[in-house]
């Protein structure tokens, strides 16, 4: 019974490693990857658990996912389920031929080293891409930097954990686990005081630029995706330009932004007329160029619906309402 806790801790560390591998393979296979797909991660951890259970039944060393195989899959471009299943069957069969295992152990160290160096390089790049796909601010930079430093500190100076209680040594001597735990704790601490909703009052010249800066600042606090915040900034800026330019607004515009992991909603509330959002396709520029009329009126007529087209296309859902001299433009962006 006394051995259960250390083994459990070691397996939790191994499960964390599996989660990292699952996220990386999911990202490799999905060009439109936005965030960890929890059903995939759940299946990865479940498979890991079943494997460990079978290891226990057969009294063998517990197995885990292989990060270096991930690098190999990336290098070869082979990540198909069928290839994985076939490789699994081959490896399972080879387990019954000890001579093969002996051969594998005798692989030259430079060959093993080359595979590990490539896999490590790949994992570092994937990790950096994952981190930087979200907007950063001082808090988030500190969270990432400190977690990596703490993890590396354990690797470089293992004596740091020499005096730790024996029960905690398996966890505290693992750079991966200590780094992950540090990141999780700091992430929770730094969320304190960060509101999921932000409001700003906008008026006059520079409203569009002010709204864009506001969305970027709040996007950084939320750790929102860079491209989503950029699109929101463009869409809101365009809407404010047309609302102010066409004198559709009386007084200030209240911008309210609400964020959760799956969507960003920006609401513009103001006194005045609602923004028209007629269904309009792309402009026929060739017809415009062929038209003899080169007056500003002809140009304005050609551009009349352009703002509505841009606002509508930049956001994933748009709703424009008007009631009792109050109007509201609601822009929703998938995240």
């Amino acid at each position: 019974m006394g051995a259960l806790i250390p083994i459990l801790l070691i397996e939790i560390i191994s499960a964390v490693d599996s989660i990292g591998t699952g996220v990386a393979i999911d990202r490799m296979n999905n060009a439109k990857w936005h965030r960890a797909h929890m059903p995939t991660i759940s299946r990865t951890v479940a498979c890991h658990g079943i494997g460990v259970f079978l290891n226990g039944l057969t009294a063998t060393m517990s197995a885990g996912t292989s990060s270096s195989s991930l690098g190999l899959a990336h290098m070869t471009g082979v990540a198909a389920r069928l290839a994985g299943t076939a490789a699994g069957i081959v490896l399972f069969s080879l387990a019954f031929i000890p001579q093969v295992a002996s051969f594998m152990i005798q692989l030259p160290q430079p060959l093993v080293g080359a595979i590990i160096i490539y896999a490590a390089g790949y994992m570092i790049v994937v990790g950096m891409e994952l981190i930087l796909s979200r907007l950063m601010n001082h808090r988030r930079s500190f969270m990432v930097g400190l977690s990596i430093t703490v993890g590396l500190g354990i690797l470089v100076m293992p004596e740091l954990t020499a005096n730790a209680p024996d029960d905690f040594k398996p966890i505290l001597s693992s750079a991966l686990t200590v780094g992950v735990i540090t990141a999780i704790i700091l992430n929770q601490i730094f969320r304190i005081g960060v509101s999921q909703t932000g409001e700003l009052e906008l008026e006059g010249i520079g409203a569009a630029a002010k709204a864009t800066r506001f969305l970027e600042d709040f996007g950084s606090s939320w750790g929102a995706r860079r491209d989503v915040i950029s699109r929101a900034g463009l869409s809101v800026g365009e809407a404010l330009e047309v609302l102010n330019g066409e004198k559709m607004v009386q007084g200030p515009v209240t911008l309210k932004a609400t964020f959760d992991e799956y969507k960003l909603v920006v609401e513009l509330g103001y006194r005045g007329r609602g923004l028209p959002l007629a269904d309009q396709g792309k402009m026929d520029l060739n017809a415009f160029f062929e038209d003899e009329d080169d007056s500003d009126a002809a140009l304005d007529a050609a551009m009349a619906t352009m703002s509505g087209v841009l606002v509508k296309n930049l956001a994933d859902k748009v709703d424009s309402r008007e009631q009792d001299e109050r109007a509201e433009l609601r822009l929703e962006f998938s995240h």
């Binding site: 569009a208 950029s230 463009l234 330009e241 415009f288 500003d296 551009m303 841009l310």
Partner: protein
């Protein structure tokens, strides 16, 4: 003004800084149209220092393109970032206005 104007081999190169929207569109339009009326017929909008273009900016490009074509020349756009390209694509501009990845290519195309 938040835009630079330069003459490169007889072509006018416009480099808006930061953005091309209502805050600077009328000034850019005035300068570009004055140069076209002064005899320039080849115009390039170089967006390598531009973060975004609004509909007010698109209006300037459209007006300049029509005037340049009328004068026997042409207008091209170069080095636009992904967001500007997206705006140009969804507005239909890319179907009639050439976009290149370098200034040299843009100058050759006008």
């Amino acid at each position: 003004m938040e835009a630079m104007f330069s003459d490169m081999g007889g072509a006018l190169v416009v480099v808006p800084r930061g953005h091309l929207d209502t805050s600077n569109a009328s000034e850019v339009e005035r300068e570009v149209m004055a140069r076209i009326e002064g005899g320039v017929s080849r115009v390039v909008f170089d967006f390598h220092r531009t973060e975004y273009v609004s509909s007010a900016g698109l209006r300037v490009i459209l007006k300049a393109a029509k005037s340049a074509k009328k004068s026997g020349g042409n207008l091209a756009i170069c080095q636009a970032n992904d967001h500007i390209l997206e705006v140009l694509e969804m507005s239909g501009f890319l179907s009639a206005i050439n976009h290149t990845s370098t200034l040299d290519e843009a100058l050759k195309s006008v």
